[in-house]
């Protein structure tokens, strides 16, 4: 049977782009169906009734949801160009760091974007600590995955590209070259990567959206 791979996604969503990046790295052809998150399609509600969120990967009619779960599925289904380590211990470490990135780094930045002025100082201090921990994990590797992009790099895509735009929109520098030289070096490698670069959303459009929505209702993916 011919493969049918669709991604219900959103052009500006880092979670959506995680899935696209993994598929591109594996040279899997897919169709991206852009979703209007303010007016969710029946397709999205049918395929993700529990969370009603993107991204959703639909493979031969069957849906898989939650970006990190989708990454595991992609790696187990298309076994070439692995994005996960093969060794179970290294795989466990990759899962640990992906979760750390989501729960501590990304969530930390998110809280800062929408927090009250008086809470900001403490939240910034916390997230900087988390970025420091992440940078320590990178050490002198080109990517978290080693010589090539791996699952942790894909999970860190918000940091790789979106974070710079968020910083510009809220007028705050969190990750700077002098404080985080290793992480910034990784960010350069990541956005310059031949598979990553073409699928990154346009900078100006994304920045405009962040500036417009900052301090308004929470951005919904």
């Amino acid at each position: 049977m011919a493969e049918q791979v669709k991604v219900l996604g959103s052009w500006g969503s880092p979670f959506s782009k995680r899935v696209e990046l993994a598929l591109k790295l594996k040279c899997v052809n897919y169709e991206c169906i852009e979703q209007d998150l303010a007016n969710k399609s029946q397709l999205l509600l049918d395929y993700n009734p529990v969370h009603k969120k993107i991204p959703v990967l639909i493979h031969n009619g069957k849906p898989i949801v939650e970006s990190l779960v989708i990454l595991e599925y992609i790696d187990e289904t298309w076994r070439h160009n692995s994005i996960f380590p093969h060794d179970p211990y290294e795989k466990a470490m990759a899962r640990f760091w992906a979760k750390f990135i989501d729960e501590k780094c990304n969530e930390g930045v998110w809280k800062i974007m929408w927090c009250k002025e008086e809470e900001r100082g403490k939240l910034v201090e916390e997230v900087l600590q988390h970025f420091g921990t992440l940078e320590g994990q990178l050490k002198d590797k080109k990517f978290f995955g080693g010589e090539e992009i791996g699952m942790v790099d894909i999970a860190a895509n918000f940091i790789g590209y979106w974070l710079g735009l968020v910083q510009e929109a809220i007028g705050m520098e969190l990750v700077t070259r002098d404080k985080f030289p290793v992480l910034c070096r990784w960010m350069d490698e990541f956005v310059g990567h031949s598979v990553v670069k073409p699928i990154l959303p346009p900078r100006d459009e994304l920045l405009a959206i962040f500036k417009a929505r900052f301090n308004a209702t929470a951005w919904e993916y």
Partner: protein
């Protein structure tokens, strides 16, 4: 090389229970070490310097942290006895989705209940029960979330059953009246030694919760 497996744990933690169940299901010989979270051991701080939490599985000196991570790791290193995840990638995706739901929705709402009171607590309890009903619907007549046998989602979810009595007494309600099939599922899991030996007595958990709420200054 002889395998050395140590589990750093604490008796009341549902996360620790997940690791205990998986180890028992797979018959993995290990040393269980009870941690005092008010006075964390040097080993715990060394093995989990980032989160400083239990459970931590130490396999031949190398630490694996985060309970769902530990369960998946055990399943990958000891795949032959009681496989917890299915072999089909789509079914594995489904299992991971529901395990993630258990963590981010069920356990998260359940945890927040204890730090609140009054109307806020009532609202969180309703949210918690709502998530349990979603899970119950997913069970959909199956014996276990894993099908004919317990699987990854069962191991992830069943520990919260040891806390049900505490919720019921505090909230003055019964889970049986809201999600009877889920209660029946939990009791089915409790027929397994791996589960019944891993879960503490509900009364002991309730006493722990009372102390916890006193410490938090809520009661």
């Amino acid at each position: 090389m002889a395998e050395e497996v140590i589990l750093l744990d604490t008796w009341v933690s549902p996360f620790g229970m997940r690791a205990r169940i998986a180890l028992a299901e797979k018959g993995i010989k290990h040393e269980h070490r009870e941690e005092d979270l008010g006075n964390k051991s040097d080993l715990l701080l060394k093995m989990n310097p980032i989160h400083k939490t239990i459970p931590v599985l130490i396999h031949n000196g190398k630490p694996v942290c985060e309970s769902n991570n530990i369960v998946q790791y055990l399943d990958e290193v000891w795949p032959d006895k009681s496989p917890l995840l299915p072999s089909d990638p789509y079914l594995r995706g489904q299992a991971r989705f529901w395990a993630d739901f258990v963590d981010r929705k069920v356990f998260d709402a359940g945890r927040k209940v204890w730090a609140t009171k009054g109307e806020e607590q009532k609202s969180l309890m309703e949210e918690f029960i709502g998530h349990l009903k979603t899970l119950e619907a997913e069970l959909d007549g199956k014996l276990y979330f894993g099908g004919e046998k317990m699987g990854y989602v069962d191991v992830t979810m069943v520990p919260i059953y040891s806390w049900f009595h505490a919720y019921e007494v505090s909230g003055n309600f019964s889970f049986e009246s809201h999600c009877p099939k889920l209660v029946a599922w939990a009791e089915r899991c409790m027929q397994h030694d791996s589960v019944s030996k891993a879960l503490p007595s509900p009364e002991k958990v309730y006493q722990y919760v009372l102390q916890l709420r006193k410490r938090l200054g809520i009661e």
